[in-house]
C-alpha cells in the first residue's frame, strides 16, 4: 500500500550531534544535554494522548480512539504503545504538553518544518535555527551528523556531520589533498571541508546504522562522554498519515512504538547523564480531529509534545484544554493550540543550558512575549 508517508522520509531518519565543549574549557562546560526528536509529517496528538475524559472525543473521532489507553488522570490517557514513556511518567521523569503548537497555522509541511526549526513565526525568514542560536549564546561548539545540516542547529559554530557513505572502491584522499581542496573554498564551505579527516572518511569508523533506534543509541553514547556533544537532534520521518492512520495497531501506532523505544534507548545509553538531560519531541502540526475519507487525518493545528529526562521535576500533563466540540475547534476542524510550544522549548533551554528566560525569548526566539513555563515542568 503506497501512500504519501513514504516520501517524507527524504534521506530517512537522521541524527545530528552538536555542541561539543570547546577544548580547554571543559570545566566550564555546560552540564545539561538536550535531545530534540523531530517527528516529520505531523503527529496525531489525539491518538497519542487521547483526552478520554472529554465526551466529545468519541463523538468526533469514534474510529480513531485506541481501545485501551493507559489512564493517566481523569482527563487524559496515553496510547498503550508508549510503554517506556509511561514508566518514565511514573518515575517523575516525563511530561506531556497537550493542545500545543508553534504559532503556525498554514498546514504546509515545508513551511511548518521551517517554522519549527527556525523558531520564527514567518516561514523562511531566517537562516539559523533556534537551537543553533541558543548554542551560540551558551558558547557550545557544534558537530552535526547527517547528510544535510538541518536548519535547527545552524548558527552554531563548527558544524560538521556524519552519515555513512556507501560508495565502494573509492580510494581515500590524503590529508594533504583534503587541505588543498579546502584552500580553494571560502567561508562556510571551507569550514565544513575542514572537518573531513582521512579517518572520518573511512567506512566503518563509526556505526553505519541509519535507522532511528541505532542513531539514538549513537547519540546517547556520544552524549554520555564528558567531552561529548550537548545537543542531539534525531529525525523520525513518516508521520504524514493521510490514510489508514491506525488505532490500536497500524502505521501511526507503529511510529509511537518507535518514538517510545527511542526514548528508552536514549535513557539506557545516557546512563548517569540521563539526570542532566531533557528530551523533547517536535512536530510541525497535529492532525484534523475528524477522520477524512481514507481512515486517516489531514493536516491540523494543535498536537502534543512529549518530554522526558532527569531534569524534569514532576511528571504531569500540561494543557489548557480547549475542548473538542465543533465550536472549540480551530476553523471547525483542528484541535486548538492553547500553549505556544516555543515556551516549552525555552524552558528546556533554560533547564539544560542555564540560560535566562528573558535572554532566550529575546535573543533565541526574538519575541519578548513568550511566557515562561519552566516552573510547570522543571520547577
Amino acid at each position: 500500500m503506497l501512500t504519501r508517508r513514504h516520501f517524507l522520509s527524504g534521506t530517512g531518519a537522521g541524527l545530528f550531534l552538536s555542541g561539543y565543549p570547546v577544548h580547554g574549557f571543559t570545566k566550564n562546560a555546560i552540564k545539561g544535554r538536550i535531545v530534540v526528536v523531530l517527528l516529520e509529517g505531523g503527529m496525531d496528538g489525539l491518538l497519542a494522548v487521547p483526552p478520554i475524559g472529554d465526551d466529545n472525543l468519541f463523538k468526533q473521532r469514534r474510529a480513531l480512539v485506541a481501545s485501551n489507553p493507559l489512564k493517566l488522570n481523569p482527563l487524559f490517557g496515553i496510547h498503550p504503545n508508549f510503554k517506556n514513556f509511561s514508566s518514565m511518567l511514573l518515575n517523575d521523569e516525563a511530561s506531556i504538553i497537550h493542545a500545543t503548537s508553534f504559532p503556525y497555522v498554514g498546514r504546509s509541511h515545508f513551511e511548518g518544518q521551517n517554522v519549527l526549526q527556525g523558531g520564527m513565526l514567518a516561514p523562511f525568514s531566517i537562516k539559523t535555527g533556534w537551537l543553533g542560536r541558543a548554542m551560540d549564546i551558551a558558547k557550545t561548539a557544534g558537530k552535526a551528523m547527517s547528510l544535510e545540516t538541518p536548519l535547527i542547529i545552524r548558527g552554531a559554530n563548527d558544524l560538521d556531520n556524519f552519515y555513512p557513505a556507501r560508495i565502494k572502491h573509492s580510494r581515500l584522499p590524503s590529508s594533504e589533498t583534503l587541505r588543498l581542496i579546502q584552500s580553494t573554498h571560502l567561508n562556510n564551505a571551507a569550514k565544513v571541508i575542514g572537518k573531513l579527516t582521512k579517518n572520518s572518511m573511512k567506512m566503518g569508523v563509526v556505526s553505519q546504522a541509519r535507522d532511528p533506534l541505532s542513531l539514538a543509541a549513537e547519540a546517547g553514547r556520544a552524549m554520555r562522554e564528558k567531552d561529548g556533544p550537548r545537543v542531539a537532534v534525531v529525525k523520525i520521518p513518516q508521520f504524514d498519515d493521510h490514510s489508514e492512520i491506525g488505532t490500536d495497531t497500524g502505521h501511526h501506532p507503529e511510529l509511537f512504538t518507535l518514538v517510545d523505544r527511542t526514548f528508552g534507548k536514549l535513557k539506557s545509553e545516557l546512563k548517569e547523564e540521563w539526570k542532566n538531560t531533557i528530551v523533547l519531541t517536535m512536530t510541525e502540526f497535529g492532525r484534523t480531529v475528524k477522520e477524512n475519507g481514507s481512515a486517516g487525518t489531514d493536516h491540523g493545528y494543535g498536537s502534543v509534545g512529549l518530554l522526558a529526562g532527569g531534569l524534569i521535576n514532576r511528571s504531569s500533563v500540561v494543557a489548557n484544554w480547549p475542548g473538542l466540540s465543533n465550536k472549540d475547534l480551530y476553523e471547525k476542524r483542528d484541535l486548538y493550540a492553547t500553549i505556544d510550544y516555543r515556551s516549552i522549548c525555552a524552558a528546556c533551554l533554560e533547564a539544560a543550558f542555564g540560560l535566562d528566560h528573558d535572554v532566550i525569548s529575546e535573543r533565541v526566539f526574538l519575541d519578548k512575549t513568550i511566557p515562561r513555563t519552566y516552573g510547570h515542568i522543571f520547577g
Binding site: L72, P74, S316, A319
Partner: protein
C-alpha cells in the same frame, strides 16, 4: 433622563448590597477577579462562594505549591487568601496560573 436615574439607582442598590454584605463576599469577589486572570475559571463574578470558585482557587494554590497536604480552602478562608493574592506571591501565582498542570494519577 429616565434611563440615567435608573442607572444610578441600580448602581446604588448594588453597591449598597455589596457594602452591607459580610467581608467574606468582597474577598470572594477578590478571589474571583484574580482567578479570571488565570486558566482556573471561577464562573461568574458574583461574589458568591460556589463549587466553581472553590475548585478553581484550590487548584491554583495546589498547583503553585501553596497548599498543605489535605488542606482545602473554603469560604471562611477567603479574606486570608485575598491577602495572599496581593502579597509578594502575586506574580508567582499569576505565572503558575497561566497553564494548567494535570498530575499523573496512575495506580
Amino acid at each position: 433622563m429616565d434611563k440615567l436615574i435608573k442607572l444610578i439607582l441600580i448602581v446604588f442598590i448594588n453597591t449598597y448590597f455589596f457594602a452591607s454584605s459580610s467581608n467574606a463576599d468582597t474577598s470572594v469577589l477578590c478571589l474571583q477577579k484574580f482567578l479570571k486572570k488565570t486558566v482556573f475559571v471561577p464562573g461568574s463574578l458574583d461574589g458568591v462562594w460556589g463549587d466553581k470558585t472553590e475548585n478553581s482557587i484550590n487548584s491554583l494554590l495546589d498547583q503553585a505549591g501553596m497548599l498543605k497536604p489535605n488542606q482545602n480552602i473554603s469560604a471562611q478562608d477567603a479574606k486570608e487568601v485575598c491577602n495572599l493574592l496581593h502579597s509578594s506571591k502575586r506574580d508567582e501565582l499569576l505565572e503558575s496560573g497561566k497553564f494548567k498542570v494535570f498530575r499523573i494519577e496512575i495506580d
